[in-house]
């Protein structure tokens, strides 16, 4: 190998430094084609009959795209139709420099064996390497390198026996490059003309991204100011003229947005942006630079709800709506600014609906994303009539300054709007939940069936098959990851064991199965559907601790005395055989039924007694018990439509299981932190800033109660004391409010942080150990613990705190998205439910009072909705808002927080994309001058897109 190198020096000056690097040229880089007899490639990637039927190039051919084609047309390249593409190293390097996401996508595509994509390392090939000529720009050199490589391929393949037919097609959108290539005798096409020539799949044309030159040709009128170049923005930010922040479009008003300025807490502020001009083509979640306007131009956020219904035809003059609310008092004026440049776009594929153009033959249509914060997108498609009424996915290509809307292209058809499958798909896509079926590579790491426990396995584990272990779970649970046992010891102490499914035994570090699970991060539970983190064989069978089968477990066994003090803790890998899988209700029945006295019942009673003591101790330390309305749907077994809905009940047994899981988690957290102080994966829950509690304190004050929020303990105590005679639900309402004040709990790596405290559980240290089937964090914790007790060996990534921290970020993100997805799914099912129910009258409570509306919670359904007292085109009733209470007086009636009201609930399907649950007040009855029962005082709460900012800290009954 050594002899085949020619020596070439490559000089690269960056700054003042002169870097000299060696650059070896090789003659053992193969062309990768099946046809070629010259190259000794063992497994050629490119097929002999590269069949893509194109009218331009009828013979079989390979494609060579240039950099811009990859960057812009990645959607096309990813299509299964496109095969046998040669990627040059020069091109890939340029892609890597210019766009990390595209680079990742193209790499994934190259790794996919079905695509027959081949990477040709042309820069190190003896015959295709070229040196930069004097006066030649780096770009020109690269273009030339691409042409040289393409020509080499053409000649190389034509020499090969039987390869006479085979041609190489260079794809480029650069006119200059194309001409030069033609001069060199290379077959070259523009991407667009090539894709259009493909016979097999005309729809592919729709996915063509508009390239920049097409983006420009539009009506000459310039609507927006030019964005500043990055260099100017950076200079401006440094000198303080501009501010950098994240752009948050308003959900209700398309002409308004807020920019959250980055920086230290002291200078963190919000800048209001109003008007199309000032928004200047920024999109939700973009990182932008803003310029503050002078103080006299400051405005207050408008409370109007504005939807972009205009633009039946594009670019019609926009009437300026801002003037309407100039009347606002000076006190509520907010810093106002305008966007001067975009620092980083955060575009993603959007799901939504196509609004077909009025002109029948038109190919340009507007697309309305489901997310209201995203403007409409103009796309070009020939199959508009097929797409109407379907949810589709669209990607933005650019937003030229003379266009009212951004330009994009169609990616995927998701199915009929309103269909259950489609909507679930949309929920999953919008929340970035990986939900494709597991790939073959992943499945190949599953244990072979039939699977059984061997003698060998038992030898290395503690045999606990004789113990009376049982599991208690919600009904219908198939992924049982925890089981318990209890027995009295001879010295009158108790032995309590928590047995957790030993998932890490099946998922070995680093393999495809592990990587997939790490990426998914968590199992997502939607109504009637579960998106597993690990393949079903593991989640519902081999790992699930079902009754009467032998299973591997990771056990945490305590010796406790009569007053539930831990005397000894022991961790071990074990084999168990569960005696019973109970539901919470069944377990409760057994405990309560005095006639039963079998082993299982006895242990349940013992566990229950200890759990009560543990809980009391925890509460004593200041653990919070919070509340949030939870609903559960009863699904029709055939149609999977929700037929009934009720809030979840909590039983003693729920809390019993919870207590022991918490105890196990805390014990494990201590152990792994003691053993690995740098790389333990823990979970913390930061205490919220005092200002978060304002709303809670105010609300309680209105009922004459005092809430202390200095410590968690004080809060817990005052919540416990907050009772009102004859209003039992009041306490729950307060707890719901308190939940909204909390911060989000997060995973972190102990080496990267110093604050470990878990506020809600009042524990100095905490982690997740008890649900490895549905959370990846628990798998890592299992591995750490296994190393700590000498049952397993470490591996490099486990000990690397930076890799751990990256993993934690992903887990936190997936966790958050899973919760949002879950909520969106509940909301969608609620809509389905009310659709079938018609109009209902229900009791509710006022949860918040706003300036022009009240937010109502209906405990029966856990449903929240807003009743507005103003609407755009009706005379508004007389409204007075007082910040004190807060109270709202409408036409003589004053609304206080927690007031009981009666509302009608119905589904409003007038807007097919944003169906909403509509609530209208019926009691107390508010009379406005021209009362019209159907229009006034009603407005929707658009559940579909609601994303509450404050998150509850504790999840369902089954989350610790």
């Amino acid at each position: 190998m050594l002899k085949s190198k020619t020596f070439v020096k490559k000089t690269r000056s960056g700054g003042i430094l002169k870097v000299v690097r060696e650059h070896y040229l090789r003659d053992d880089i193969w062309c990768g084609s099946e046809v070629c007899g010259e190259c000794r490639d063992e497994s050629p990637v490119l097929q002999r009959d590269a069949c893509m039927e194109s009218s331009l190039c009828p013979s079989p051919h390979y494609l060579i795209p240039d950099t811009n084609v990859i960057l812009h047309q990645i959607d096309i390249l990813e299509d299964p139709l496109i095969k046998n593409v040669i990627f040059l190293q020069t091109v890939l390097q340029e892609v890597r420099h210019r766009s990390a996401p595209v680079y990742k996508r193209i790499r994934d595509a190259i790794h996919n064996a079905d695509k027959h994509f081949y990477t040709f390392t042309n820069e190190h090939h003896r015959e295709t390497f070229i040196e930069r000529e004097p006066g030649e720009s780096a770009n020109d050199r690269n273009d030339r390198a691409i042409r040289v490589a393409a020509r080499w391929y053409g000649q190389h393949l034509s020499r090969a026996a039987g390869g006479g037919e085979l041609q190489v097609v260079l794809l480029t959108d650069d006119q200059d490059n194309k001409e030069k290539a033609e001069k060199n005798g290379i077959l070259v096409y523009k991407c667009e003309e090539y894709v259009k020539s493909l016979i097999a799949n005309p729809e592919l044309v729709d996915r063509l991204a508009l390239t920049s030159d097409q983006n420009e040709i539009n009506s000459g009128k310039v609507l927006f100011l030019e964005h500043l170049p990055l260099s100017k923005i950076q200079a401006g930010i440094k000198s303080g003229i501009y501010l950098q922040g994240t752009f948050h479009a308003s959900r209700d008003n398309y002409l308004e947005a807020t920019v959250f300025v980055h920086g230290e807490a002291a200078e963190r502020k919000e800048v209001l942006i109003q008007g199309l001009q000032s928004l200047n083509r920024a999109l939700h979640q973009d990182v932008v630079a803003v310029e503050l306007l002078s103080r006299e131009c400051w405005v207050s956020p408008s409370e109007v709800v504005l939807q972009d219904d205009g633009g039946k035809d594009e670019d019609t003059g926009e009437e300026e709506v801002e003037d309407k609310n100039k009347s606002a008092e000076a006190s509520i004026l907010k810093p106002t600014g305008r966007v001067v440049g975009i620092i980083k776009r955060n575009w993603r594929p959007y799901c939504g609906l196509l609004s077909q153009s009025n002109i029948k033959e038109a190919t340009r249509h507007l697309f309305t994303p489901d997310d209201r914060r995203i403007p409409r997108i103009r796309i070009e498609t020939r199959q508009a009539s097929n797409l109407v009424g379907h949810k589709i996915m669209v990607v933005i290509d650019g937003w030229p300054k003379n266009s009212r809307y951004p330009n994009g292209h169609f990616v995927k058809n998701l199915g009929d709007v309103g269909g259950k499958d489609t909507e679930t798909e949309v929920i999953l896509l919008e929340h970035d939940v990986p939900h494709l079926p597991f790939s073959q590579a992943v499945l190949s790491f599953l244990p072979k069936m039939p699977w059984g426990i061997t003698e060998e396995d038992v030898k290395n584990r503690m045999d606990l098959r004789h113990l009376c272990v049982c599991s208690v779970d919600p009904p219908g649970c198939t992924d049982i990851d925890d089981a318990l046992h209890f027995r009295e010891l001879e010295n009158k102490n108790f032995e309590v064991g928590v047995h957790i499914a030993d998932v890490s035994h099946f998922i070995r570090p680093g393999n495809a199965l592990d990587q997939e699970a790490a990426n998914r991060g968590t199992t997502v539970y939607l109504c009637g559907k579960r998106i597993d983190m690990v393949p079903e064989l593991l989640s519902s069978n081999l790992c699930s601790l079902r009754s009467d089968v032998e299973r591997f477990a990771f056990s945490c066994i305590w010796e406790m005395n009569y007053s539930a003090e831990i005397i000894k803790t022991h961790f071990t890998k074990s084999v168990i055989k569960s005696k019973a899988s109970l539901t919470y209700a069944e377990a409760q029945l057994r405990i309560d039924d005095t006639s039963l006295n079998d082993d299982i019942t006895q242990s349940l009673r013992g566990l229950n007694r200890l759990a009560k003591i543990l809980k009391a101790k925890r509460v004593e330390k200041g653990a919070l018990s919070l509340s949030s309305p939870e609903v559960r749907f009863h699904m029709d077994s055939e149609t999977h439509d929700p037929v009934d809905l009720h809030t979840k009940e909590l039983m003693e047994t729920n809390s019993m299981v919870e207590e022991f899981m918490l105890l196990a988690n805390i014990s494990v957290a201590r152990k792994i932190y003691e053993e690995f102080s740098e790389c333990a994966l823990l979970r913390k829950h930061p205490s919220p800033p005092p200002s978060n509690y304002d709303i809670l304190i105010k609300a309680a004050k209105s009922k004459g109660l005092l809430i202390h929020t200095d410590t968690a303990k004080a809060l817990a105590d005052s919540l416990n004391l907050a009772e009102i005679e004859g209003f039992p639900y009041f306490n729950t309402l307060l707890r719901i409010l308190a939940t909204r004040c909390m911060m989000q709990a997060v995973y972190f790596c102990s080496g990267m942080d110093s604050d470990f405290h878990h506020y809600g559980l009042a524990s100095p240290i905490y982690t997740h150990f008890t649900s490895p089937i549905r959370r990846y964090s628990d798998i890592i914790v299992h591995r750490l613990l296994a190393v700590a007790i000498g049952a397993d060996s470490t591996y490099p990534d486990l000990m690397d705190k930076h890799k751990q921290a990256t993993l934690c970020n992903n887990l936190n993100y997936r966790h958050k998205m899973a919760q949002y997805a879950q909520r969106a799914s509940v909301a969608f099912n609620t809509q389905l439910f009310f659709k079938s129910k018609g109009i209902l009258n229900e009791d509710g409570f006022i949860l918040f009072v706003r300036k022009n509306a009240i937010i109502i919670l209906i405990p029966k359904y856990g449903l929240e909705g807003t009743v507005f007292f103003e609407s755009k085109d009706k005379p508004s009733p007389h409204i007075a808002f007082s910040d004190e209470g807060p109270t709202l007086t409408v036409e003589g009636h004053t609304f206080f927080m927690f007031d009981k009201v009666k509302v009608t609930v119905a589904l409003d399907a007038s807007n097919i994309q944003h169906q909403k649950i509509r609530m209208a007040l019926i009691e107390p009855h508010i009379t406005v001058t021209n009362y019209n029962p159907h229009n006034i005082l009603t407005s929707g709460s658009d559940l579909g897109m609601r994303a509450k900012k404050k998150k509850k800290k504790k999840k369902k009954s089954h989350k610790y």
Binding site: E22, L25, I110, H111, H124, T794, Y795
Partner: protein, 244 residues
């Protein structure tokens, strides 16, 4: 995406080598007439010059001499122009004394010092151009110089670095690879017996990886030894032709 891709998906490194391939090693022996032994060695862009004096009587205080073997005195230095930035490099700074010490240890293990009691062998090495693997280039050049001086050794001492990127061990790192983060292990080996004269590694690495890394470094050292052997044989031929 910051940083550079040290190893491409196709298995090529920055400069076009595969993971196990060495840089081009070229060497000449007997470059200076005045010294007892000398050699010039290029390992890719790293260029080193080694000069050997001795064995001779111990200079300076007699107390330094050892009654049963020779004292080896090593001095390492870098030319001011050896890196991208011109920099005066005084003798005796921490880095170069450490390097001198390492060289000394390496050659004490290889040279048959007991043949020359109460005497001294001086080895001077200078890096003329630095592009990663300074220590290894010095060891390899010094080996040739010692051979040139006719001082008996157990075996060639061959040195090579190895690094670790994406679970793949890379042999003979260049400067970009060394500074690109990750671990770098320097190994000096007596290839025939497989004995290790010196091994040095500063960064942390998981123990699972250590064996593969050592393995890669050893293979690389053996590769270097073949090249050095060739150089010595060729030199011998030239010299014998001249003298004949």
């Amino acid at each position: 995406m910051a940083g550079i891709e040290l190893l491409s998906d196709q298995g090529y490194r920055l400069d076009g080598r595969r993971a196990t391939e060495l840089r081009k090693v070229q060497a000449r022996m007997g470059v200076f007439a005045q010294a007892d032994g000398s050699a010039y060695l290029e390992q890719g862009n790293t260029k080193a010059l080694a000069v050997v004096y001795g064995p001779h009587e111990v200079r300076g205080p007699r107390a330094k001499s050892l009654h049963d073997r020779a004292v080896i005195n090593c001095q390492y230095s870098m030319a001011t122009f050896s890196t991208a930035e011109r920099k005066r490099r005084p003798h005796g700074d921490r880095k170069s004394s450490e390097m001198s010490l390492h060289l000394k240890q390496t050659f004490e293990a290889a040279v048959l010092t007991q043949l020359y009691p109460r005497s001294q062998i001086d080895i001077y090495v200078k890096i003329l151009q630095s592009d990663g693997g300074n220590y290894t280039a010095c060891v390899n050049a010094a080996t040739l110089a010692v051979v040139d001086a006719g001082i008996p050794m157990r075996d060639y001492v061959c040195a090579c670095t190895a690094g670790f990127v994406d679970d793949t061990p890379l042999a003979d790192l260049c400067h970009a690879e060394e500074s690109g983060g990750g671990t770098s292990l320097s190994l000096a080996l007596l290839p025939r017996s497989g004995q290790i004269a010196l091994v040095q590694m500063d960064a942390r690495i998981h123990q699972d990886h250590l064996d593969t890394l050592m393995e890669a470094a050893m293979t690389a050292c053996k590769g270097v030894s073949r090249v050095l052997d060739g150089v010595v044989r060729q030199h011998l031929q030239e010299v014998s032709v001249l003298t004949a």
